[in-house]
Every structure is written in structure tokens, then in C-alpha cells.
């Protein structure tokens, strides 16, 4: 798969979700850029570290920082930006292949894809929570 095509597709995929969720027009560009950047980072790190889990964790953490900064800047909730940014990381294809192999009674492959799906979902959640926990510590120390 050509990385440039994929990164462009990530941009439009995030844009599609931002529209679907009813994001305001002036937030559309920064939100979709978040999706594109997070996928670009994922590809780069996966290439360097050859660990999808770590790459996904880092890309998700990056998305959360990006969303936090934008939310501060635009005085709006972080959710508006973090969700479009992590959308390309959501393991839709491994979930599908897990199901498809299960239908074809190839249980070993189904299990492999199934556990990959859960692993990536966990990586996304852990990346986000890591940043949120750091922020919480920071604000508590200030107050």
C-alpha cells in the first residue's frame, strides 16, 4: 500500500467522521489534519520500531496532545479533536478479517486477528489515558 495514498485517505476518512459527528465548519480542517498526522506518525514509528502496539500507543498519545492544544486554542472540548484524530488508528480491518476467518473456520488466523484488534484498541486507549493522566497530575500540582 502506497503510504502517500494511505495518508491522504486518512485525512479524508477523518474529515468524513468529523462531518458525520457534526463538527463545526471552522474546526474541520484542524480535526482532519490530526487524523492525517497521527496516521503518518503511526506509519513512521511502525517502520522504525516494527511494533504496531508501540506505534499505535505513540500515535494515540500524540493525537491527544494535539487535540488538547487545539482545544485550549479554540476554547472547546478536547473530544471534538481527539476523536477524528484517532479514527485512522481504529483497527477496522483486523476486526473484519478476524470475523471472516472465523466464518471460513480458520480459527488460528481468526484468533491472531482477533487479538491484534484488542491489542490495538488497548494501545489507543492507553495512549490517550497516558496523556490525560499526565495533564491531570500537572493541573493538580498547580492548584
Amino acid at each position: 500500500m502506497n503510504p502517500a495514498v494511505q495518508i491522504a485517505a486518512a485525512f479524508f476518512g477523518s474529515l468524513g467522521f468529523a462531518l458525520l459527528f457534526g463538527l463545526r465548519r471552522r474546526y474541520l480542517l484542524p480535526a482532519s489534519l490530526g487524523g492525517m498526522l497521527s496516521w503518518g506518525l503511526y506509519l513512521l514509528l511502525d517502520h522504525l520500531l516494527s511494533s504496531p502496539f508501540l506505534a499505535c500507543f505513540a500515535a494515540s498519545a500524540f493525537s491527544t496532545v494535539y487535540a488538547e492544544l487545539l482545544a485550549r486554542l479554540m476554547h472547546s472540548p478536547t473530544t471534538l479533536f481527539v476523536i477524528p484524530a484517532v479514527i485512522p488508528l481504529v483497527p477496522g480491518s483486523s476486526l473484519y478479517y478476524a470475523m471472516s476467518f472465523a466464518v471460513h473456520r480458520d480459527m488460528a488466523s481468526a484468533r491472531a486477528y482477533g487479538s491484534q484488534t484488542l491489542e490495538l484498541a488497548l494501545a489507543i486507549a492507553a495512549g490517550m489515558s497516558f496523556v490525560l493522566a499526565c495533564r491531570e497530575l500537572h493541573t493538580r500540582r498547580k492548584s
Binding site: L15, L19, L20, H75, L80, L95, Y96, V103, A121, A125
Partner: protein
């Protein structure tokens, strides 16, 4: 700000309404608790206790020298995101914390937000674009993308139509994935140039509770254990329903061709 007793109870009612709307737009439970507590303080409550999980909001408010007021509301939300209303609620609650609106105005502002809806054509366009992009993203051709976009429109219309019936989310996912799986399977059987897997993956991205699952794990990691557990169990059931629908469709298509 001094409120009469009846204003206090009407404020409590508005706060429940705001909490319900927030959850309905996909706001985090911790955020809902935080917003409602601040709102209570802004209106002069000496103490505001808010407890939120995805299916219940309970608020207890105490004004100086008076008996506490407590109300609970049962919530039915499926964790879907609606940034359009979420942002309006955010603006409203921020404004109220700085300069509280009179209680009756707060109520009418909330009703106005509740009535607002994002336009259907934006939702249709967004879903089609998302399905197209993700079909291509996961290695499909332009044609696979276009087919995924067409089925995304069908998903949206089904959601609009079936959403009005009282079908629960699991049953809804089962029906919708069965229909979409059959449609895509038949189309790919008739047009062998199309890749059924890529088209379905594009459309699955619209349906999988990946975000719900992520949010559930995140809730648990940041300490909202009950909410996280409830959401995780729900989203796993939704994913199983979705997978079952697709699996039945794939089996039928395989048996036919």
C-alpha cells in the same frame, strides 16, 4: 445568587436535562460530573454531589440553611457522538459558570439545544466520504471506495429509519450488518472486479464500536471504573452482534455462489 425553593428545584431539573443531553452527545462521564458540579456551585449551592454512570445521573444539592434536594434520572444513551450539540452545551455551561443565567432562561436555552439537529445531508456526505476513504485506506480500489460510499448512504438511511423504532443497539447492529453484508456480498458476486472485504471494511468503520471500546478502557484507566466496565460490556456485545450479522451474511452469500 439567591434562589427561591422552587427555582432551586427547577435548576436541579435543568441540570439533569443538561447531563442527559451531554451523555447523549457522547460526552465523557467525568466531564458530565465536572460540568454539573461547577454549575451547582455557580448557582450558589453550598454543596453539589453528582454521580454519573452511562445509565443514571443522580444529583444532590444543598443550599445554605436548607434541606438537600436530590433527583435521579434514568438515561438511555448509546454513546454516539454529536459534536454539534456537544459544543453548544459546552458554550452554554461555560457561560453559566461565569455569569449564571436566570433559571428559566437556562431551561429554555437547553430546550433550544435539544431541538437542534445537524442537517441530514451533512451526515450522509460525511458517512459516504468516511466509508470511501477507509475502503481505499485499507487497500481497496477507487471502485471499492465508491461501492462502500453507496452502502454508507444505505447505512445512514437505515439508521435514520430504524433509529426511530425502539430497537436496542445490539439488535439494531445485527439487523444492519446482516443487510449490508448481504448487499455487498451480492454486488461483489455480480461484479467480480470489486473486493468484498475492502468494501465491507470501509462500511464497518462506520459501525464498529471502536471508539466506544476505546473510551471504555480509557474510563477505567482514569478511575471511572463502573462507567468503563458498563461501556466495555456494552460495546463488546455490540461488536459481537455486528460480527454475527456479517457472518450470517457471508455464510448466505457463500452458500449461494
Amino acid at each position: 445568587m439567591d434562589l427561591t425553593r422552587s427555582e432551586q428545584s427547577s435548576l436541579l431539573d435543568s441540570m439533569l436535562e443538561m447531563g442527559e443531553l451531554l451523555l447523549d452527545c457522547g460526552a465523557e462521564v467525568s466531564r458530565v460530573e465536572d460540568t454539573l458540579s461547577r454549575l451547582g456551585a455557580a448557582y450558589g449551592a453550598a454543596r453539589t454531589d453528582v454521580f454519573v454512570i452511562p445509565s443514571i445521573i443522580s444529583i444532590s444539592m444543598e443550599f445554605a440553611g436548607e434541606k438537600a434536594l436530590t433527583e435521579t434520572r434514568r438515561i438511555h444513551s448509546n454513546g454516539a457522538n454529536d459534536f454539534y450539540r456537544l459544543e453548544k452545551l459546552n458554550t452554554l455551561s461555560r457561560g453559566c459558570c461565569v455569569e449564571p443565567l436566570p433559571v428559566s432562561e437556562l431551561r429554555s436555552s437547553l430546550d433550544a439545544v435539544a431541538a437542534g439537529h445537524k442537517p441530514l445531508r451533512v451526515i450522509l456526505g460525511g458517512s459516504a466520504l468516511a466509508a470511501f476513504s477507509f475502503a481505499v485506506f485499507f487497500g481497496g480500489s477507487i471502485w471499492d471506495g465508491l461501492a462502500a460510499a453507496v452502502f454508507a448512504l444505505a447505512i445512514c438511511l437505515l439508521q435514520e429509519y430504524l433509529g426511530r423504532t425502539e430497537l436496542n443497539t445490539a439488535a439494531f447492529n445485527l439487523v444492519i450488518s446482516l443487510l449490508i453484508g448481504l448487499g455487498v456480498g451480492l454486488l461483489a458476486a455480480l461484479l467480480p472486479a470489486l473486493h468484498m472485504d475492502k468494501i465491507l471494511i470501509g462500511d464497518i468503520m462506520l459501525l464498529i464500536p471502536g471508539l466506544a471500546m476505546t473510551n471504555a478502557v480509557r474510563n477505567m484507566l482514569v478511575g471511572d471504573t463502573i462507567s468503563g466496565a458498563v461501556r466495555l460490556a456494552e460495546s463488546l456485545i455490540w461488536a459481537v452482534a455486528l460480527a454475527s450479522g456479517f457472518m450470517i451474511a457471508l455464510m448466505i452469500v457463500r452458500a449461494l455462489f
